[in-house]
């Protein structure tokens, strides 16, 4: 059931080199997006321990956004792939707790993609709003796992 005035709170983990700078760029460009996301800076999306996600959800967040550099562009070379792997597994696990996969979203944003980052946030806020409050202690049944969207890698030179 969805509360018409429900405003979700989402914790966003952004990597120092790309997505955090994308958020900064969105700010510099004065691009507006909903205030529901609160950002935490880590050095790399590979740093995100699945327990951080669980911690955030158990502390009252309705969703978690993980944002890293595009595959192939990670400042630490390939650690965003590890974030990708963990995210997939985490979504499957969370589904067994009854947490919808859409609540934990993985996205890529390069330091130049301020507008894209803002759009991702807006899209996620809408999705989580539609899902309703997480209500962590009262989650009763598992939900079906929708496959997470794997971003398509850009063209590779022949």
């Amino acid at each position: 059931m969805t509360d018409a005035t429900f405003e979700p709170v989402i914790i966003g983990f952004t990597c120092n080199w790309c997505s955090y700078r994308a958020a900064d760029l969105a700010g510099t460009a004065r691009i507006k997006y909903p205030p529901n996301v609160r950002l935490i800076r880590v050095m790399c999306s590979g740093r995100i321990d699945p327990t951080f996600v669980l911690k955030a959800l158990s502390e009252g967040a309705d969703g978690v956004l993980i944002a890293g550099c595009h595959p192939g562009e990670c400042h630490y070379l390939e650690q965003n792939y590890k974030a990708l792997r963990r995210h997939r597994l985490l979504q499957k696990t969370l589904a067994q707790f009854g947490i919808e996969p859409a609540r934990v979203r993985l996205t890529w944003a390069s330091a130049a993609e301020g507008a894209l980052f803002a759009e991702e946030i807006a899209a996620m806020v809408d999705e989580v709003k539609a899902l309703g409050p997480l209500n962590w202690p009262a989650r009763p049944v598992p939900v079906a796992t929708a496959p997470a969207e794997i971003p398509v890698l850009g063209e590779v030179a022949a």
């Binding site: 955090y20 900064d24 740093r47 955030a56 967040a61 209500n135 063209e155 030179a157 022949a158």
Partner: protein, 685 residues
């Protein structure tokens, strides 16, 4: 050294919170006074002893405010809620350090870029700002007083690649008085520049301007030259690299050989030289790449030498005629490995030419009179296979009509997206040289004319004045098949036809020519990703080495101590390569002069007592910072190699890896603080 404020023994921290107005940037949307009040009152039980709001925290007055409070109020930690830490983290860390507080006990909370500038709802923005301050306060409570990690820097530098960028870098460092090891894969220094005839726009002879530098590098007392060698292994970290160089066997003793060249003269085996002569000239089985080779030591090619081929051990003309005593020819010479210690590495490994055979419709390899730009350079070169004469494939006749096709393999979705930066100028230069030497009608087929450098566009005007024809259009096809008998009889049987849309005239053209030159583009070296792995740096998806920042730091890489220069990082002309060589050298000299390097203390480390030896983390580090100690069955992390990404910290199932600067405790605390206002009562379902 300033007195460090130590945290109180009983755990009572004294945190100062500063909320910046940033003029009206923040204050116009966020109620900054209310945020400061929130911090002072609601976060008092978390250790906040004072909270202020001020117009510009980064100003001198703002900074002094903090300094004063630190002294008068004995603050132990500082939180500044203002703009992005990417702008002023260092500023406020500096304030703390000056006032005796460990700089890593200060944190910034971004309420400008992430709140005031992106939200319109003032109430929501203020609530979010409060949450962010709360999160940052919780986090800073868990910060450790870190010290920058200092590593000593070995004064010797490794330069990989003996082309113009590598030579320049080596000379700069050597001239400053420090030792350089210069490793070059081919038998001589010079790189691709040595193959060129004249260089644009001045039409300086390439060899004339290059060979003095080659000679200087070859004879400099501080430069240790390894040619016909490759770097096999690199271990260690910035300031302390251990490098293994493999010296491939030349089959010539470099200590005895005088470079007289009799062996080359007497060798009876002539083979096509597809390296230096770009496949249109010959060399012997024992050879040096070109006459001005540095060092002037020949090398023996075992794949074509009679002594080796067939295994019968015949000929030996080189040995027979070698005048040195003892003989310089050593048929059973083996590869040698040398281990070196260096402090910094400069990679200047250059580029490879696009393989024009990949475009079948241009006929390269099938049609005799289709050449590449590199082949034309060799042809025009006075020391080249035709003595500087521009001739057709028959080796004799001069062409009367020549087509030069720009952007072959570049700016093309099917091959390489990038622009190769130099081929427009090279095509103009070749047009000029061809016209000058043969008087032929020259046609340049281009998409755009790119002449951005100094005197470059003037050179273009000059070539226009030469009477070279320019057709704007991407060539569809080069064919030797005439459209009809009339065309065949007009142009003779050997003619080539260039089929192109002349976009300025709006017509299809079939231009009959005798010779076609393809301006093949620059590509990364075919083995660039393997080389990158050896040195611990990454290649982009197109294969060029990745610089630390495309705009602001094109010389450094993500790996401390490894620098890139020249075309290895992307296509560029000679002045840019030379500049980058000097720039890399300057950066290296910087480190050497300091004698030690201070690394950011954001690192991972293993608590050995908690490590179970499961090795899950071992495969996760692209910087080879994680190693397993067999004797003790625990994992160890090299703090100098570690770049601080934290992936291993997240992976350790035992929680045995600590990430300083972004520890689990810090992050959990920040999450709790951010959600302080959101602990909801569970709804009954």
């Amino acid at each position: 050294m300033a007195k460090q404020n130590k945290p109180e023994r009983d755990g009572q921290e004294r945190i100062g919170v500063y909320v910046c107005h940033c003029g009206t940037n923040i204050a116009g949307v966020v109620d900054v006074e209310s945020v400061a009040k929130f911090a002072a009152e609601d976060l008092k039980d978390r250790g906040v002893v004072l909270a202020r709001d001020y117009t510009f925290m980064c100003s001198v007055a703002g900074q002094e405010l903090i300094e004063q409070d630190i002294h008068e109020q004995q603050l132990t930690r500082v939180v500044v809620a203002a703009c992005s830490p990417h702008l002023h983290e260092k500023t406020f860390r500096g304030v703390c350090e000056r006032s005796g507080v460990n700089p890593y006990l200060s944190e910034m909370a971004s309420i400008r870029e992430h709140v005031a500038w992106v939200h319109t709802d003032k109430a929501a923005a203020t609530a979010k700002a409060k949450a962010i301050v709360s999160g940052t306060v919780e986090r800073v409570l868990k910060n450790d007083p870190l010290e920058a990690i200092k590593v000593p820097i070995d004064a010797q530098t490794l330069v990989v690649g003996g082309g113009i960028a590598g030579i320049q870098a080596a000379l700069e460092v050597a001239e400053a008085g420090y030792e350089v090891v210069l490793v070059e894969r081919e038998a001589s220094l010079g790189g691709h520049m040595a193959q060129f005839d004249k260089t644009f726009p001045t039409l300086d002879c390439a060899a004339c301007i290059l060979t003095p530098k080659m000679a200087a590098a070859g004879s400099h007392p501080k430069i240790h030259l390894f040619t016909w060698s490759e770097v096999e292994k690199v271990e260690g970290y910035v300031g302390n690299y251990t490098v293994t160089v493999k010296k491939k066997p030349r089959y010539v003793d470099e200590d005895i050989c005088t470079g007289c060249g009799i062996c080359v003269e007497k060798c009876p085996i002539l083979v096509v030289d597809d390296k230096f002569e770009a496949g249109i000239g010959y060399r012997k089985a024992i050879y040096w790449p070109f006459a001005q080779a540095v060092p002037n030591l020949p090398v023996l090619d075992t794949e074509t030498c009679t002594y080796y081929v067939g295994g019968k051990g015949g000929c030996k003309a080189c040995e027979k005629f070698c005048p040195t005593v003892p003989n310089s020819i050593k048929f059973d010479q083996k590869a040698e490995r040398v281990t070196l210690r260096v402090g910094n590495i400069i990679l200047a490994t250059g580029w490879d030419l696009f393989d024009a055979r990949r475009i079948p419709q241009y006929g390269y390899g099938r049609l005799a009179n289709v050449f590449t730009n590199l082949e034309l350079e060799r042809m025009c070169n006075a020391a080249g296979p035709t003595g500087g004469k521009v001739v057709m494939r028959d080796g004799q006749s001069a062409p009367k009509r020549v087509a030069i096709i720009h952007c072959v393999g570049s700016r093309d979705r099917n091959y390489n997206r990038h622009c190769s930066a130099i081929c427009c100028m090279q095509s103009l230069k070749l047009a000029h040289l061809v016209k000058e030497r043969t008087g032929a009608e020259v046609y340049n087929f281009y998409i755009d004319i790119r002449t951005p450098g100094k005197e470059y566009d003037e050179f273009y005007q000059r070539v226009l004045d030469d009477g070279v024809h320019f057709v704007r259009g991407k060539v569809a096809e080069v064919t030797d098949i005439p459209f009809d008998p009339a065309e065949a009889s007009r142009n003779g049987s050997g003619a080539l036809y260039v089929q192109v849309e002349d976009t300025l005239a709006g017509l299809q053209r079939r231009v009959p020519v005798d010779m076609v030159v393809l301006s093949a583009g620059l590509e990364p070296r075919r083995d660039s990703s393997e080389v990158g792995k050896t040195f611990g740096i990454a290649c982009s998806t197109s294969g060029w080495f990745i610089e630390k920042h495309a705009k602001m730091d094109p010389i450094a890489t993500m790996t401390e101590g490894v620098f890139i220069a020249g075309c290895a990082a992307g296509p560029k002309d000679i002045p840019a390569s030379v500049s980058q060589g000097s720039a890399a050298a300057a950066r290296v000299l910087n480190y050497i002069r300091q004698g030690e390097l201070a690394l950011e203390p954001v690192r991972a480390s293993v608590l050995a007592e908690q490590c179970s030896g499961c090795r899950i983390c071992n495969g996760l580090c692209p910087f080879n910072a994680i190693s397993f100690i067999e004797e003790r069955k625990v994992t160890e992390i090299n703090a100098a190699l570690c770049q601080g990404c934290g992936t291993c910290v997240a992976a350790c199932p035992a929680g045995a890896i600590q990430g300083t600067g972004f520890s689990n405790e810090q992050l959990f605390a920040q999450i709790e603080g951010l959600l302080r206002d959101f602990s909801r009562e569970p709804e009954v379902v």
